[in-house]
Amino acid sequence: MSMLKVDDINVYYGNIHAIKGISFEVNEGEIVTLIGANGAGKSTTLNTVAGLLKPTTGNVEFEGSSLLGVPAHKIVNKGMALCPEGRRIFLQLSVQENLEMGAYTRSSAEVADLIASVYERFPRLKERYKQVAGTLSGGEQQMLAMGRALMSKPKLMMLDEPSMGLAPILVEKIFQIIEELNKAGTTILLVEQNAQMALSIAHRSYVLETGRIVNSGTGEELLHNDAVRKAYLGG
């Protein structure tokens, strides 16, 4: 059964028709990626699933129940977390406070255990737990953003451009962590401009172009698809 089902959604920014009838599914246990150029509508799609934007038409279902009309702050409780584009950590809060905010909907009894498990995955964050998040390096901020999203114990974790602005070695590390999370049972919906990396870890993938899905298949298939190679993988 599909965990997340996006059914023919249309999303507008004012007069701009950003998403033109997108449908896709994410099954439990998968890594699904959305790839495409800047402005293709990848982030808009994730923000719509997370409830920050409302589709004009169409439906988003999570584990069989519709998310239409559910306010964004109630969606995280259903088992879905978004690690947003540009990380959007709380720069003036400490590392630990950022993690606490990630567990906002969890009971206070769980928080200590959740924080411990995030520190285990990201020891760097533990070293800096008291530091104000704005003073972290880009890579550390990305780890904090991911750790913060994990604090809600999501069944589905959505990541928007986690490799943006990071050195190649850190990009590899981030993708390695995403695969580890998936192996540990978290379903992943990943948006990336780094198509090569994204396709190499994806079970399935969708290609977006100006608000529409123009291609889909397994990561392997798309890596060898001529049109995709030309457009996104540099030949």
């Binding site: 109630k74 977390a81 709380f90 905010m101 990630g102 906002y104």
Partner: protein, 289 residues
Amino acid sequence: MLNYLINGISLGSVYAIIALGYTMVYGIAKMLNFAHGDVIMVGGYVAFCTTSYLGWPVIPAVLLSIFVCMVLGIVIERLAYKPLRAATSLAVLITAIGVSYFLQNVALLIWTSNPKVFPNMVTLPSLVIGDLQISSVALVTIIACIIIMIVLTLFTNKTKMGKAMRAVSEDKDAAQLMGINVNATISLTFAIGSGLAAIAGVLLCSAYPTLMPTTGSMPGIKAFTAAVFGGIGSIPGAMLGGILLGIIEIFGKAYISTQLSDAIVFSVLIIILLVKPTGLLGKKVNEKV
């Protein structure tokens, strides 16, 4: 000299309590709530009516006044500011000024323009140390200010709700993704700010016992100045700005000129902003993108 200092700190404490409301609302809603001063006046009238007309004792009267102002704050935000959350800041500013005039005129209709003589709510003996005589109102004001400062600092730094408030003030979308109800958090901020305004109203009217529909506007503007002076958005800044402003005003009145004291206060603001545009404790946030 010392007496002036105490009076200055006491007046400054009232400004500081009002400035906290400005600064918290600014921090979270990124708007200057110019109707905040008029909430003080409403708080004063509620306390006045319950004690003078209904004969209530002081403490329940003050509590009711706080409650009424909290509700008023939430209602103002919901009706006037929430629909404008996506609007330009100028539209919100003009709306706030409109709300301010609305409150003043409603008060004019209900209580007329005749000044009411506000009963002193702090009926304790003065504290006398040698030559120094500190009125109980001044003492209670200063103590109230210190307690409020400590409680608010602990609230925003230690409690889950306070941290959520800081998160909302920084990034509303990201806060929603955490599961934080942004609307409820904004309402809570308005409620706290307006509750503080009620306390300030009672303390202010106890020290300066004339109550009119325009009573709140001048202290409101001065407290706004204090908040900017200290660094708007900063809680310790509001406190420091308020107290310094009170001291400057009283000393200006005592040693320079009674008429010019307001001009002196605002000149100091202009000078501070020229030298340090973020205010005394305002932080320039370096953001890494």
